[in-house]
């Protein structure tokens, strides 16, 4: 293996700079296939298909030859967590460059063997060609063992998009054939030899202490595990474990602390909890601000929101001597490995975490916590894999939640209707609560173990860089005098962490609702008002596009129906999205149609982008009109689909997506860009349909009535 210094030119490709050995990214496998390794996991966003397209394109092999290796701390490149809509930028750019370098390396070997200059050779589906004719050589004949065990050199040119034939096309998803036929593919389907089944008996309150485990009358062969207030059982079958868990739960005696705020007064909770005040952005222009002729202030809120993944979390663990192997659907297997090691005082080298697919993941759900549960229960039966399945109630009641938030906005318009000053204050618990963040393992059961301490409040990331609760809190509009402040709560009675788009969902809902309110003050059309405050042509383009294809100018103006618009550039620096929603507010709030125009730069898989944006729009509509975590003073009470309703087929709007071409622009993720703009479009449409502005999410019939009564 050569030991060249990583090239400084790789700084622009952070995943490759961090994992510079080419063989950590790809291998030419027997049977004429290419295996690619990524640190990014598939959870339904289609990223593996897009990464395979990138590799196939750069190597000049058919897409069908490329397989993606499962992610594991045992061999995959460490690319951190699969989050933030960054997989194509990070993993895609690394794979593209690694494949380009592997291609050049093997072409150089082919040149040596044929005596022809490398630039006279080309590749056709992995075969080395000279003047278009086979040389008898191929990647597989040239790639002797160890040939890719070398560090990437300085960046080599990659194929320009105008020469793409595999990337840039809507390749069908590689994982769907298994999923439509019901073949085992999910972690939940994995059956290991000798596997036993565990269940954890969670406390009856978020803050509770186990006084006595009692003496449950358990059948023979059950193993019970108690450590402090952590209680679990292991049985030969999952049904047996579930039955035993019920008996154990019945026998246990707990001391409960009522530690939760008042569910009916989230604003009171957010404004009265201790908080740290962090400046996010300040550009002062007192002269411009002094021109304000009209001032407005408004407050917008969102409740706690649940991930409510279709599959309750699951994990498998097996102890072999001092080492433990874990199978998890975590979004960050490396961070999970380190958190498990830190939490249980192990060396990270003792812990291996393999990823297996779970159901759709929209942020930090219960996956990592279930992994610790499995590790704790498997310790009681060394050498045997133990599978822990969470119940629906476990998932809804114990997985981290997206925090409740309050955004207070004030702005001033000058005499011509231009915004001259803006202040935005955001109150929230932190969003950055994944394992390892803030130097803490942050795994649920650690607080329940003997000697455990409550999990410290979630961090919220740096104030700049569009992180945490203040993601998209800085409006993308031209405003001379502006101040944005984050108020991060220092108490966390309800555990919070990342949920799709972080604070952008509420901030964009607030900013874009407020923009409509300001446009009304200024007597301007909402579209024209936005365009008048934008200088970025890509921003204007998505707004104009969505206005055009939704028929904004000729939108219906009848009682009970309304149309609204919402716009944001995700994180202020990534993909652009503008949405128009049509809402009916007769006996209920119904979103009928949503139109979206997006610009996510260069696109690897157009249908993949459309699918992500459609899904984001539907989920945002569900959050905006239906969802709200409910709790009493001791625990979460919205623990089933009855008490936590999400949009159903008969309620889901029609969604139409246009992808605006952006040749030459860098790739930007599509998974989170719709969340804010769609909620805002719905809010603005409802204001028109109901004739009253509703500023507290979710936008239900009850909230409309409350707003009418208050107005």
């Amino acid at each position: 293996m050569t030991t060249a210094q990583p090239s400084p030119g790789l700084a622009a490709i952070p995943s490759l700079a961090a994992n510079p050995v080419l063989s950590s990214w790809l291998a030419f496998s027997p049977g004429g296939t290419v295996t690619i390794f990524s640190g990014k996991v598939e959870y339904g966003q289609g990223v593996w298909t897009a990464l395979a397209q990138i590799a196939a394109e750069e190597l000049d092999v058919a897409l069908a030859r490329v397989t993606v290796a499962p992610v594991s701390t045992g061999g995959s490149p460490d690319e951190g967590t699969t989050s933030g809509s960054l997989s194509i930028q990070h993993s895609g750019s690394a794979l593209r460059q690694a494949c380009a370098q592997a291609r050049a390396l093997l072409l150089a070997l082919a040149a040596d063997q044929t005596g022809m200059p490398a630039d006279a050779l080309t590749v056709g589906d992995g075969q080395i060609l000279a003047a278009g004719r086979p040389t008898g050589l191929s990647y597989w004949s040239l790639a002797s063992p160890g040939v890719l065990d070398r560090e990437a050199g300085g960046p080599v040119p990659v194929k320009p998009p105008d020469r793409w034939s595999v990337a840039g096309r809507s390749a069908p998803r590689l994982d769907l054939p298994d999923k439509v036929t019901g073949r085992p593919r999910f972690l939940h389907d994995l059956v290991l030899a000798g596997m036993r089944y565990g269940r954890v008996i969670r406390p009856p309150a978020l803050a509770a202490e186990l006084l006595s485990a009692g003496e449950p009358d358990l059948p023979a062969g059950m193993v019970t595990v108690r450590d402090g207030s952590f209680l679990g059982v292991v049985a030969d079958t999952d049904a047996g474990a579930l039955r035993a868990a019920r008996l154990v739960a019945k026998a246990a005696r707990w001391q409960i602390t009522e530690s939760l705020p008042d569910d009916r007064d989230l604003k009171g909770f957010l404004l009265s909890a201790p908080a740290e005040e962090v400046p996010v952005e300040s550009r002062r222009d007192p002269r411009a601000a002094a021109a304000a002729a009209t001032a407005r202030t408004a407050e917008y809120t969102r409740p706690f929101l649940a991930h409510a993944s279709m599959a309750p979390s699951c994990a498998i663990a097996r102890w072999d001597g001092e080492a433990v192997t874990v199978w998890s659907h975590s979004q960050g297997v490396f961070a999970l490995r380190d958190a498990l090691a830190a939490g249980l005082r192990l060396d990270p080298g003792q812990v291996t975490v393999h990823h297996a697919e779970g159901a759709g993941t929209y942020g930090h759900n219960g996956a990592d916590d279930a992994a610790l549960d499995a590790v704790l229960l498997a310790r009681a039966v060394p050498g045997r894999p133990v599978r822990v399945q969470w119940s629906r109630e476990d998932e809804m009641g114990w997985a981290p939640l997206g925090p409740a938030m309050l955004a207070r906005l004030s702005a001033g318009l000058d005499a011509s209707g231009k915004i001259v000053t803006w202040r935005q204050d955001v109150w929230s618990n932190g969003f950055i609560g994944r394992p390892g963040r803030g130097g803490e393992p942050r795994l649920l059961a650690l607080a329940h173990l003997a000697g455990g301490t409550p999990m410290p409040p979630a961090p919220d990331g740096p104030a700049t860089g569009a992180m945490g609760s203040t993601r998209n809190a800085v409006p993308g509009y031209r405003i001379p005098d502006l101040e944005v402040v984050r108020h991060r709560l220092l108490a966390m009675p309800i555990r919070t962490s990342s949920l799709r788009s972080l604070g952008a969902f509420l901030n964009v809902f607030a900013i874009e609702s407020f923009m409509d309110e300001l446009a009304e003050c200024a007597g301007a059309d909402p579209v024209a008002f936005r365009l008048a405050h934008l200088s970025d042509p890509r921003a204007a383009r998505v707004i104009e596009e969505v206005a055009e294809f939704s028929g904004w100018a000729g939108r219906p103006r009848k009682d009970g129906t309304g149309c609204g618009i919402g716009y944001a550039r995700y994180k202020g620096l990534a993909g652009y999205c503008a949405a128009v929603a049509e809402v009916e507010a007769l006996d209920d709030v119904r979103v009928r149609r949503i139109w979206l125009a997006v610009d996510v730069g260069t696109v690897i898989n157009p249908d993949g982008v459309v699918n992500q944006v459609e899904g984001g729009a539907v989920q945002s509509a569900s959050w905006a009109t239906r969802e709200r975590v409910a709790f009493d003073r001791a625990k979460i009470t919205s623990v089933s689909w009855d008490s936590y309703p999400v949009l159903r087929f008969t309620e889901v709007p029609d969604v139409a997506v246009r992808v605006v071409a952006a040749p030459g622009q860098p790739e930007a993720g599509a998974g989170e860009i719709a969340q804010g703009p769609v909620a805002a479009a719905i809010g603005n449409a409802l204001a028109q349909a109901a004739g009253v502005r509703v500023r507290d999410l979710p936008l239900t019939r009850e909230q409309v009535i409350r707003a009418i009564e208050a107005s």
Partner: protein, 161 residues
């Protein structure tokens, strides 16, 4: 939790297996017969991830006692295709790329197959109503509806020929 011998007909094949007859059919299908298609989502019959067809009717298997399935024809997503070919609904799901994570997919396909068997040419509204007990959290709903309508058109088109 007493074990009894239970006789089930699943995907056309007869099985005799020792199990707790009060156990949910879902457990018997997954743990007893090794079928991964019916999936656990809630255990209360509220999400549709575990849908199977029992004597022609789609219903959740997670709250259906295994004993009650004796003497019935149970079909899971694994049993929908014929002679190695996909069922029209499965093919249409691929054609429309009608999924994101795919965890709810087998339940959706089972519900849709039962709908089309009973009503070969449903309206869009009828498709939505039939699928209302199947939850999707990724937001693939509109693609799923398009896939079911596509499958219906294909099958009725073929029948007309």
């Amino acid at each position: 939790m007493e074990q009894q011998e239970l006789h089930l007909t699943v995907n056309g094949a007869d099985h005799a297996l020792a199990c707790d007859p009060a156990a949910p059919l879902l457990d018997v299908l997954r743990a007893g017969l090794g079928l991964a298609g019916p999936r656990f989502g809630c255990g209360l019959g509220l999400c549709g991830a575990c849908m199977v067809i029992i004597d022609g009717k789609a219903r959740p298997s997670c709250d259906y006692p295994a004993w009650a399935a004796e003497g019935t024809q149970v079909t899971t997503v694994e049993g929908l295709g014929h002679d190695g070919a996909l069922h029209a609904v499965q093919q249409a799901f691929l054609d429309e790329q009608a999924a994101q994570c795919g965890y709810c997919t087998s339940g959706m396909i089972v519900t849709a197959a039962a709908l089309l068997a009973a009503n070969p040419a449903p309206t869009e509204q009828e498709v939505c109503e039939a699928l209302d007990g199947n939850l999707c959290r990724c937001g693939a709903h509109r693609r799923i509806v398009a896939a079911v309508l596509r499958a219906a058109h294909q099958r009725t088109g073929q029948a007309a020929r």
